[in-house]
Subunit: 254 residues, 2 copies
């Protein structure tokens, strides 16, 4: 890829960008094999340049010093380094826990959810289309680069995901009218689970009630609903983090 | 207040705005006494106009039809109604649970946190300055109008809050290096609690460890930290919602 070919991001491109030092160093650490180059602006501090030289030296990633190119691709004036990487596809693990997002539409939400997943130990994400572009630079930024630690696969319909991965797995659709309040039941430890969340505005279609054990996060009547990334974060926390404490308590009780 | 006096929002103004139908109807329902008027753009649907006439008729709030004024104050082109309200101050309740935000800097985060608080039954919020303007229209929007159901008080230093409300109350500072993992202990039911969270970038100063029972939300090493609004949401969920289930379980077990 030549410098002149580097353009403002479009969904159809085979490359995308990490904006800013934090996500770019995450990219270099986690996925050097797909990193094409790092663009550096003359506003970058000496410290960042040195760290970058060191990191890129290890992996053979090219550094391009070009104010013009950084200014062409970045979306905010304070962005002084940009990682250029090749989009990739992943295959989810059958025996691991998944999060499934049905029609997520907001790039910031998707990135935040990815960060929470990785933070609580879930590294498999299924996205049911239509959905926001998973490689949009806004997703990369909101994930703080956690996206590079995540396996993400897109499916045109939920049933295509379910056919491939549903066997030997418990589905938990999160719904405003879910049957089981979160925290009031335990997931059997010998099976993997999929936590399923709907679109920001519409939630999950009523049909999802029949596709697993539907879960509601109890909240007061004073609000209409919880924010999607918060609901997802709380769901993952309850399933992943709380279970560990409960398991340890059981050990203590014996 | 005359129509010509209505200007783009500035922090020093005594009025602020709710942008869009949802927050504006929340304003009218919850705080009609501070609502000065509602501005309506000619792009507003018949349905919204009718609902508005009904609501304002009940409370005597003035409706102003003026494209020019809406266009002058709004921050997004698709905003077609604007509530104008007088900023107000509140006094927190001594015997209720509080959330304390130390130096929150992002309007969107603050609004989202307010929405989570109200959703999980916490209606007292202390904000330690310097902090984002609590009445910025972006806060109102991100809260989806939940801010009008919340008592919010600002303090120049944490110790001024603590002096006024700290007695007979348990402080839980949330810190990356907190001593007690969230979910591993129980808060004594006969005391009120304050859940304390730091700034988005810096978290809480180490000195907060001495000011209460410091709490950490366990997460993997794969991320640097959790997003502030997520950490706050999970903290409130664990303290407010989970405790209810556990209390009910105890009842069942007897």
């Amino acid at each position: 890829m030549r410098v002149n070919d580097i353009k403002k991001y479009r969904k159809k491109d085979i490359y995308s960008y990490s904006f800013g030092p934090f996500p770019t160093f995450e990219l270099l650490h986690t996925k050097p094999e797909i990193t094409e180059s790092v663009l550096v602006h003359s506003d970058a501090t000496e410290e960042i340049r040195d760290k970058l030289k060191q990191e890129c030296g290890k992996t053979g990633v090219k550094i391009i010093y070009s104010d013009r190119t950084v200014e062409k691709v970045r979306d905010k004036d304070n962005c002084i380094i940009v990682g250029v990487f090749k989009k990739y596809s992943s295959i989810l693990e059958h025996n691991e826990n998944h999060v499934v997002l049905v029609n997520p539409s907001d790039a910031g939400n998707l990135g935040t959810i990815i960060r929470s997943c990785v933070g609580f130990g879930i590294t498999n994400l299924a996205v049911i289309e239509p959905a926001v572009d998973i490689f949009h630079p806004k997703v990369i930024r909101a994930s703080m680069g956690a996206i590079f630690k995540m396996k993400i696969a897109c499916f045109p319909y939920f049933h295509m995901y379910d056919q491939k991965y549903g066997e030997e797995r418990e589905n938990y659709p999160f719904m405003l009218k879910g049957e089981y309040p979160l925290g009031s039941f335990k997931h059997p430890e010998n099976r993997a689970f999929s936590l399923i969340f709907g679109n920001e505005a519409r939630g999950l279609d009523a049909a999802f009630r029949g596709l697993g054990k539907s879960v509601v996060i109890p909240h007061t009547q004073s609000i209409d609903s919880l924010n999607l990334s918060l609901a997802t974060g709380i769901g993952i926390y309850e399933f992943c983090v709380k279970r560990q404490w409960e398991a340890e308590e059981e050990v203590i009780h014996r």
